[in-house]
Amino acid sequence: MEVWEQIPLDAEAGARKLVAEYGDRLFRAAVLLCRDEHLAEDLVFRTFERVVDRIGQYDPRLPFWNWLYTILLNFFRMDMRKRKAFVAEDAALADEDLETSGDDVAGRLSKMDAAAIRSAVERLSPPFRETVVLRYFEDKTLQEMASLMSVPVGTVKWRLHQARRDLERTLAQLFKEKEV
């Protein structure tokens, strides 16, 4: 029995199944998005509560994971708006001008350790982080990303381009710091 079939019958058992099947994966995406494991845990908790409450609204013809992820993303954005960080951080990073060229870093990326990459992702602004997580963690196509983020494909492409630029600049800086 699929998890969305079980929840209406037995909400508690369904919730446990949700955690077992999707918990860690959603948690990882949440950590990348909100940069803090405690916040991420809270985000996943609220997402699952909402899923159980609104299971009647799920259309089984659509991928369940996308539905879960959309709810998570909405909670994340709501939190960001509360902290008024969404726009401010975006602008701040766009203006930031790091010296190192992204191209120099690209070839050395593979040598970077995972912690540095995570740290670089965490430094991205929330919309760029969403984009990077969807592209490189969720492996979504531009079309799917546009649908999940409710923005046009052109915006996704621009964000992805900017995000990569920021990511590579940050990594270059981290790389430089490491060398020093």
Binding site: A20, R28, F45, F48, A106, S110, R118, T141
Partner: protein, 281 residues
């Protein structure tokens, strides 16, 4: 196309698979341009590194122990809170049973109306028939009247647990004309059954009403999924003198119900817990 333009296409090619003409042009260009070929390899490696790096970065992350227990407990608490004393919670079967009976009542009312019209009004039921016809376009309170479902608006004391009290009101308020009619008897038996079901449900979960409490409309067509948000907006039922009282009908109840195909909204007025049964077409 210059190299910069090809590099933009290369970036696109790494995010989406290029097809057709653009793909062919990039491929041709890469065969001839060493600089762009190096650029392509660089970008491809960067993409691969990002994919593997980001996935490796959170590979070891796991939800903490006990997360599932806490979630299950929270869901249990939320569900029981929703069924708490601030909510007029009846078993779903009671609501469904009641709405089915009301639907049957309406059908009967319509048939009475037709009979009254076709039969030349040889029965006092003529007036009822008129009401029922109007009821198809108006609120069902009228329909309920027409169908003589008024027995549901019977006096059942709040939190009563005595079966004798629960069953008597229906009998007391029965329309004698319908009682003598065979179809009427069928209807009344259904109405009685619904009344008994509602009363039994009330007896099973008596309400501790207090002044100032607000109760909710339960719309069986959406219950329970949308009930919370819906009733949060309708504070039309209040408690007065230890009993629930209907203050007004929420503006959107009818509009909402009209969007449903077969909809019956049960307005539970536990003043006498009768539930005025509000039948909305």
């Amino acid at each position: 196309m210059n190299c910069q333009e090809y590099r933009d296409l290369i970036e696109d090619a790494l995010d989406v698979s290029l097809h057709g003409e653009p793909e062919r042009r990039v491929r041709l260009h890469l065969e001839h341009c060493v600089s762009c070929r190096d650029y392509f390899k660089l970008r491809r490696d960067a993409h691969i590194a990002l994919f593997s790096g980001i996935n490796a970065a959170c590979e070891g992350l796991r939800l903490p122990e006990g997360f599932a227990d806490r979630l299950a407990e929270s869901i249990r608490n939320r569900r029981s809170a929703r069924r708490g004393w601030r909510r007029l919670a009846l078993p779903r079967w009671a609501l469904i049973a009641a709405s089915v009976v009301i639907m049957a009542g309406f059908v009967f009312a319509a048939s009475v109306a037709v009979e009254a019209v076709l039969g030349g009004g040889d029965e006092p039921g003529e007036g009822e028939g008129t009401n029922a016809t109007e009821g198809t376009e108006a609120t069902a309170v009228e329909v309920a009247d027409a169908a003589a479902i008024d027995p549901l608006v019977s006096s059942v004391p709040l939190a009563s647990s005595e079966p004798s009290e629960s069953s008597s009101p229906s009998t007391r308020t029965t329309d004698p004309q319908l009682e003598t009619n065979q179809k009427g008897e069928t209807l009344m038996s259904k109405v009685k059954a619904a009344t008994a079901a509602l009363t039994a449900a009330m007896a099973a979960a008596p309400l501790a009403a207090a002044n100032g409490d607000e109760y909710q409309f339960i719309d069986p067509t959406t219950y329970p999924a949308e009930n919370v948000s819906y009733s949060a907006r309708s504070s039309a039922v209040t408690v007065e003198a230890g009993a629930l009282r209907v203050a007004s009908v929420p503006d959107d109840l009818e509009a909402r119900s009209r969007t449903k195909s077969a909809s019956a909204a049960i307005l539970l007025d536990a003043t006498k817990f009768h539930g005025s049964i509000l039948f909305v077409l």
